[in-house]
């Protein structure tokens, strides 16, 4: 019977896995490409040595009291067995929106007002329960005033989102005055720095 053979194979695989893990605690690290295709690097170190991974799809194994093994490619079966469920549980990256303001106040520019439905659509689509609203001001004027202004901008956006039906409890509001400019130049009135950044997680 085919199923009997499958079960036999499965039991054998289980036994093999158990025998492998009996060899002692072991770590496996695998490097993958980013969603945008870029490949980073990881450095794996213990008392016995160090190994750097820079190629997508390569892995190193670290057994106790042994240096990390040279980079290797894992089989698809082992990759699935070690990492499959974790990989499938990885959330997609949060989405960020930047809303801009008219000078010296909490009035959104017409373009940014038009972006609000997109923000709300993203919140619904991601079923987000965690939204950050961070207010910013340009360098123009006194910093104490800018801190207040950036807070009022963030608060204004929070109010709009709540009015549009989002629960208050899922929105975290912070403000940075002019300390974190989006654009760094000689223009203290830089309009792109008069903004609120919304992160939909």
């Amino acid at each position: 019977m085919r199923t009997a053979r499958l079960i036999q194979l499965f039991l054998f695989a289980l036994l093999a896995i158990q025998m492998l893990s009996a060899c002692g605690a072991k770590t496996v690290v695998l490097l993958l490409p980013d969603p945008d295709g870029h490949v980073g690097s990881v450095v794996v170190t213990n008392a016995q040595g160090s190994q750097i991974l820079t190629q997508a799809g390569t892995a190193t194994r670290i057994a106790p009291k042994a240096a990390p093994s040279p980079p290797e490619t894992l089989s698809a079966a082992e990759t699935e067995q070690l990492f499959g469920p974790a990989q499938r549980a990885l959330p997609t990256k949060p989405v960020r929106y930047i809303l801009y303001f008219e000078s010296d106040g909490v009035e959104l520019t017409p373009e940014s007002k038009a972006d609000l439905p997109k923000v709300l659509a993203t919140v619904r689509e991601r079923q987000s329960r965690d939204i950050s609203v961070v207010g910013h001001a340009s360098k123009a004027g006194d910093e104490a005033f800018n801190i207040g202004l950036s807070r009022r901008r963030a608060e204004a956006v929070r109010k709009i989102l709540v009015k549009d039906g989002l629960p208050t409890g899922i929105i975290d509001v912070t403000s940075h005055g002019s300390a974190n400019p989006l654009v760094i130049n000689n223009n203290p009135y830089e309009p792109r720095n008069r903004r609120v950044e919304i992160t939909v997680r």
Partner: protein
């Protein structure tokens, strides 16, 4: 003067101590979250401040020092404050050893300890702004993350389990 100076000084000291205690606990409560739960399946729990483990659901905030665990056939997906994303496979244990994300103060750090199980991660702003400060620790290795997308599997050896295991 009807009052003795000494007891009033003592009173002020006691009051100061009480206020400091109150401020301390308020600070601890007000600590910004390190992240939040995006998804959970099966039994995915957090142990915080020596409280009994509690089931996690989407939207729950995660804090520094939280101990996150999953049972068999369970998983957990997190989005951290620096917009890194992180997940745990089944039978895993992850400790948020350190998480600092305040770029305006120069406070940037992310150290997670995977005591056992499996994790997937795509790093975020902390790795971008301060590449040397993102680490994952396992029972047999220190993993320095210069970015960005990686997987870790750690077998928890018999003598590698953290002392909190079963130690109520």
């Amino acid at each position: 003067m009807p009052r003795q100076p000494f007891p009033s000084t003592l009173g002020i000291l006691v009051l100061t101590a009480l206020l400091a205690l109150a401020a301390g606990s308020a600070l601890a409560e007000d600590a910004p979250p390190a992240g939040s739960v995006k998804s959970s399946t099966g039994v995915a729990q957090v142990a915080r401040n020596k409280a009994a483990p509690a089931q996690l659901k989407p939207g729950d905030r995660i804090f520094e020092k939280d101990v996150l665990t999953t049972d068999a056939q369970s998983s957990l997906g997190l989005v951290m404050r620096d917009n890194s994303v992180l997940s745990l496979g089944p039978e895993s244990r992850l400790v948020v050893e350190s998480f600092q994300f305040a770029p305006e103060k120069g406070a940037l750090a992310s150290v997670m300890r995977l005591a056992k199980g499996s994790a997937a991660c795509i790093t975020g702003e902390i790795a971008k702004l301060s590449p040397g400060t993102v680490q994952v620790l396992t029972p047999t290795a220190v993993i320095g993350i210069r970015g960005t997308h990686f997987l870790v599997h750690a077998e928890g050896g018999p003598d590698m389990e953290p002392k909190t295991e079963g130690g109520r």
